[in-house]
């Protein structure tokens, strides 16, 4: 009887979806029980046969279902998901999802403000909750996204969003949680398109001096009681009282070391984003407890001589060295492959559960939301999904249902609609 429930639910969703974008799910008010899934908690643990209770927007319990006989009266819905896999919603970090809809159509790009000093720019309000890209990403279990600005020296602030919302206000899980800095290059490069080496050096030095100036003045501003309010410096105050984290984009070992020294000098919290060379300075990162957000495991080695699989095994190298490592993906539409980026890390050293942690609980910890997000644990937000198979593997990932803060969301999207349209046109199902 309960199995029918699922069928009705699923069919209902696909039939109703003729619109271009799915409607955000209605308010959570239900008590739902998910019975029988293999639950991947997100903290390394697995419950082979689980019972997951959802009460309104929270997880009321996640436990071993062995010997558990649910009382049907205690739930509005009981869904049997035996043989399926349950995961906490994946968290895409360092993405411009919702900030861009078509890369080469300028009008859709809202992630790079002009000028180099933009600490006051907020990705939060540029986030387009109606983007047609977002539903395609959710369909692979990505239910939360850290939406981050790019460009310049100080790009602006990022916010953590949930991906089923009417508008950016609804979407915000944690607003303005961190500031983004592009570390000035400390490498001189030779290439046909590169500027002369002297010019590069001068530019890098200037950027570095500018950076120090910005932070000296921002710290003085934060400590003092300035009569004149300054938008830039105001926006950086959170760094000095510890309420905000500074995300520093850099890859080269010397840049990472410099960034760490910088954080020490100003006594601020930082995370390294990119971090191609982070494994080379892992002892320093461990000692200072600085996390790394890797941009893509699906990348070419940073240097010609490096191990051909270095980007694949980078998360493993960091974890082995005791460094917290989150895995991210580039861009916005690409986020639907986030799980596979983690899957690759599992093929090269990490366990599958560790790989999962790097796109769930570790990102939550870095953003300071681990009390409500990132794992399937009692009291946390009921943001999770059920896949018919291993969600980190292309051949297994098929999301059957997903919940954002207790609401079961519509998994249809524009691409599926087009698919159906042409399956009908060619009558492929009959073949």
């Amino acid at each position: 009887m309960k199995m029918k429930w699922i069928c009705i639910l699923l069919c209902g969703l696909s039939l109703s979806a003729v619109a271009q974008r799915p409607v955000p799910a209605g308010g959570a008010g239900k008590k739902i029980l998910l019975m029988g899934a293999t639950a991947h908690i997100g903290n390394g643990q697995v419950i082979e046969m689980s019972a997951i209770g959802i009460d309104h927007d929270k997880l009321s319990f996640v436990m071993d279902a062995k010997g558990y006989k649910p009382d049907p009266r205690a739930f509005d819905t009981i869904i049997y998901v035996n043989g399926r896999q349950a995961y906490p919603g994946f968290i895409a970090m360092n993405t411009n999802l919702g900030l861009s809809d078509l890369e080469l159509v300028r009008a859709t790009n809202d992630f790079r403000e002009s000028g180099s000093i933009n600490p006051s720019a907020r990705a939060l309000i540029a986030y387009n909750a109606d983007s047609r890209v977002i539903p395609t990403v959710r369909d692979n279990g990505i239910l939360l996204a850290q939406v981050a600005p790019q460009g310049g020296l100080l790009s602006g602030t990022s916010s953590l969003m949930q991906l089923d919302a009417w508008n950016w206000e609804d979407a915000a899980v944690k607003a303005d949680e961190g500031l983004w800095l592009n570390w000035p290059s400390m490498r001189i490069v030779k290439a046909s398109w590169a500027d002369p080496e002297e010019e590069q050096k001068e530019r890098n030095d200037k950027a570095m001096q500018n950076l120090i100036r910005q932070f000296d003045e921002a710290r003085a501003y934060a400590r003092g009681n300035p009569a004149i309010k300054n938008r830039h410096l105001e926006a950086m105050k959170g760094l000095f009282d510890g309420s905000q984290i500074l995300y520093i984009r850099c890859n080269y070992a010397r840049e990472i070391v410099e960034a760490v020294n910088f954080a020490g000098r100003y006594n601020i919290r930082i995370a390294i984003a990119g971090g191609s060379d982070s494994w080379r300075v892992s002892s320093l990162l461990k000692e200072k407890n600085i996390p790394v957000i890797i941009t893509r495991t699906h990348a070419l080695p940073y240097r010609e001589d490096e191990d051909v699989d270095l980007p694949y095994k980078l998360p493993f190298l960091l974890r082995k060295a005791g460094v917290q490592c989150a895995i991210a993906d580039d861009g916005f539409w690409q986020q639907r492959n986030l799980g596979f980026q983690a899957g690759t890390a599992a093929a090269y050293g990490l366990s599958k559960e560790e790989a999962l942690e790097s796109i769930t609980l570790i990102p939550a910890r870095i953003m300071g939301v681990e009390k409500t997000c990132g794992s399937l644990e009692d009291g946390k937000d009921a943001t999770l999904f059920i896949s018919s198979g291993d969600a980190l593997d292309m051949t297994g990932c098929s999301v059957e249902m997903a919940f954002v803060q207790g609401r079961m969301i519509d998994l249809d999207n524009y691409q599926k609609e087009l698919y159906r349209r042409y399956v009908d046109k060619y009558q492929l199902e009959k073949k």
């Binding site: 699906h298 070419l300 010609e304 001589d305 539409w333 899957g343 292309m394 492929l428």
Partner: protein, 1012 residues
Amino acid sequence: MRKILTWLFTLLGGLSALQAQDTRPVTGLADEREVVYAFRNATLVSDPQTILRGATLLIRKDRIIGAGTQVDIPPGAIVYDLKGSYVYPSFIDAFTDYGMPEVKAEARGNRRERGPQVESTTSGAYYWNQAVHPEFEAHAVFDADAKKAAEWRKLGFGAALSLQKDGIARGSAVLVWLGEGRDHEQILRDRAANGFSFNKGSSTQDYPSSLMGSIALLRQAYLDARWYAQAPEKTHDFSLEAWNNNITLPQVFEVSDYRSALRADRIAKEFGQKYIIKGGGDEYKRVEEIQKTGAAFILPLNFPKAFDVSNPFDALNINLGEMRHWEMAPANPGILAKAGVPFAFTCSGLKDKKDFHAALLKAVRCGLSKEKALAALTTVPAELFGMAAQTGTLKAGMLASFFICTKDYFEKDPVILEHWVAGKRYVIRWTDSLDIRASYALKLDTLSRWNLVASGEQHAPEWSLRRDSVKVKVEASQMNSQWTFRFEPNKGKGAYRLNGSFSEHGDTLSGQAQSPEGNWLSWSALRSGNADQRKDSAKTDSAFVLPPTWYPNMAYGWKGKEGFPKAGAVLFQNVTAWTCEEQGILHHTDVLIRDGKIVAVGKASDAEKVNMAGVEVVNGSGLHLTPGIIDEHSHIAINEGVNEGTQSITSEVRIGDVIDPDDIDIYRQLAGGVTSSHLLHGSANAVGGQTALIKLRWGHAAEELKFKGADPFIKFALGENVKQSNWGDNNVSRYPQTRMGVEQIYIDAFSRARAYDLAWKKFNGTRTKGAPAVAPRRDLELEALAEILNKKRFITCHSYQQGEINMLMHVADSFGFRVNTFTHILEGYKVADKMKKHGAGGSSFSDWWAYKYEVIEAIPYNGAIMHQCGIVTAFNSDDAEMARRLNQEAAKAVKYGNVSEEEALKFVTLNPAKLLHVDQSTGSIKPGKDADLVLWNGPPLSVYSRPLMTFVDGIRYYDSKRDEQMRQENERERQRLIRKMQEEKNSGAPVQKASATLKEHYHCNDLEHLPH
């Protein structure tokens, strides 16, 4: 007899002096002189093989009239005693722009910002392309530069080939003396050579923007010139006339590296030319191929400085390939000499010409014989430019160009005293011919027990004042015949200041002096003995040991020719084989490969097991064997530009001309199970270039990578890139700018191609009948299009939006051919029925979209729909990174659209093989096919699986275990070189900053060299 000869040469000398007369009227008094100079007691380096000691060189005016050990000095000759000195023939710099006007390179800027320049801006009746200017004549603008000539002479150079280093067809060069005086006297030979390169130089015209475009332009110009020579009707083109006039000259072709040297050689062979190739200095990397060209080379001596590796992180920026090149570049001349490749040297490329001597010595220390080194500076360039009978050796009858050197030129710090260029004397260091090094007993004031001692170099002696073991510094200098000495024998008591001169035979010094107190004194010093010769304590450099060349000479290269993996016989036992054939997936089966081919699939019979001697058995339990992955759309391994997007139709350019065999991405793809990559031109224009299908035979030269016997393909493109939609507001004029224009440009091009084809068919028909006819002009662009019409060349077309796809199929239908493949084809699902009907295949991305407007309706189900509609469907990468995981991309066809795993794997194996017409030899596991295989540690479509071995033609080019070893070897080699570079730095040698060389990874919309 000897005398007669001498007289004969004197006569000849006189004749040449007559020839050198000019037309100027004598405006003052005539001043003609016929002085004979004799240089005796010299070590005469007559030619690189002949060193004569105690020899005499006799010159009269600009000629040598005697050279040897048995030369009589005629009465009245001015005689110089060169005891201890060496005389060398003047060197010839084989590649300079000495005396040429500066090339004004107008800042071309970024094409996006500047907008298009389709036409040449050269005025006059010249070739349509600005970079082709064979009409340039160096001798016509040559203007001697006394200051620069002096710099060269100081190093030993007395002549130079001078050309304008600008453009693709550069025009003629002039061989000049490096003397002073009227320009007339400096010209040794006008039109001494004809210059080429692949670099368009100062040309502002868009075409060509890529290396392959330069190659196509050169080939077309050769054809045009031939046609021009015999065409009855033509418009005047003075470039082509000059081209034909220059074709008999020595042809000097400048390239940047060994890869382009081989490219130039292919052009030479195609057009029956013999090039003298000005190389990049890295020819040692493929010396066998270089040797096979049969070309002579001009080599630079600009060996890289050691990198500053003091900081261990900075050192990471330097690739092993760069480090190895640093070590091996100085050995390049020696390696080429051993391989019998003739070459001349040039100072070109040296930041400072003064570094020439040290660099030359380095080359000698690294294995080049002195004889070959000398030949490269004298006889070889003289022969290359047809002047061997005039200069390059010191023999009677030759022009008198030579220099006098204090010692063997190949020792440290030789001093060139004089340089005589065509009989004209240039003193570089004035010195007495006497050897004054000796101990002189001083008589001065009360200093009777002191000796004044000159020691060290003969022509720059070091002076000191000595008494027993006490040694006092002497400040000494010479002005004409008078010497100045200043010394302070008793510290603190003031200095003696002496003026003095040597007696005629050099045994006495005498003159006037002033004592510290100011008293005037007479002084003298009598030669009393030899100066104790201090042995030069300069440390001898440790012997150079030539490391084996790696193939390629970088990380992951094979160690020497013997280090290449070889094809053997391998039995994969008890493996899961994804055959991609009718048998489907075979579990617990055996696959045998031998000599590059798949021999047997299925449980090995006992009979076969008997014959298993020498067969390597791989235990395949739990492992999966698949056909090698074939990437239908790749841009790896391409040098200097993936797009010749300057004109809308560039079917004449060929990716096959610019394959880069040294691209690390080849090895990286192998590590991802790829065995073949289809290298495509970019998508910047409607008709791009001819493609190249390669097998990833890592380590082999470019030509050996090509897939033998594969059908030729060409890249077409539709959509935003072709219309320049994303090029900004300055690029709105190149035709076409709309889909409407794209259709028209295709129809127009194919109409012209059809007419062209008919003209040739007609010509070939009449020719067989014996009727004389003039051949139509060969047009490489139309020729390639005609091949499409004749079904000899096949299209793979970059495409997204359904309307255009439909249009191109209609155009093809109307011209009677088929579009073989639509690549990208993200809206293929919308026209799958039409594609099926037309017979086109589809090679798509699995899940890309939203990167530009035309992919707004791209869906990841596209592959599945096309496949289910019966279209041969493939997934490709267009990306060096994704190509390493094409198995995972194939898996997405299972995820999006429920294609079976077996069929999905074919998306990256058999189906691309079919699309490329190579499914007869690769793409599946079938006896008789090439052993292009991948052994995986798990199911091939899983994200968790990785290749353990990749075979191409049965050769294991990738093996994960061997890869571990190679990583260690890379690291060991890095550390060895890092130590060596530190030693170099410690020795005080200059070093260069450890800047990181970035690699270009191309995608199909990359223009010029700007990846984005």
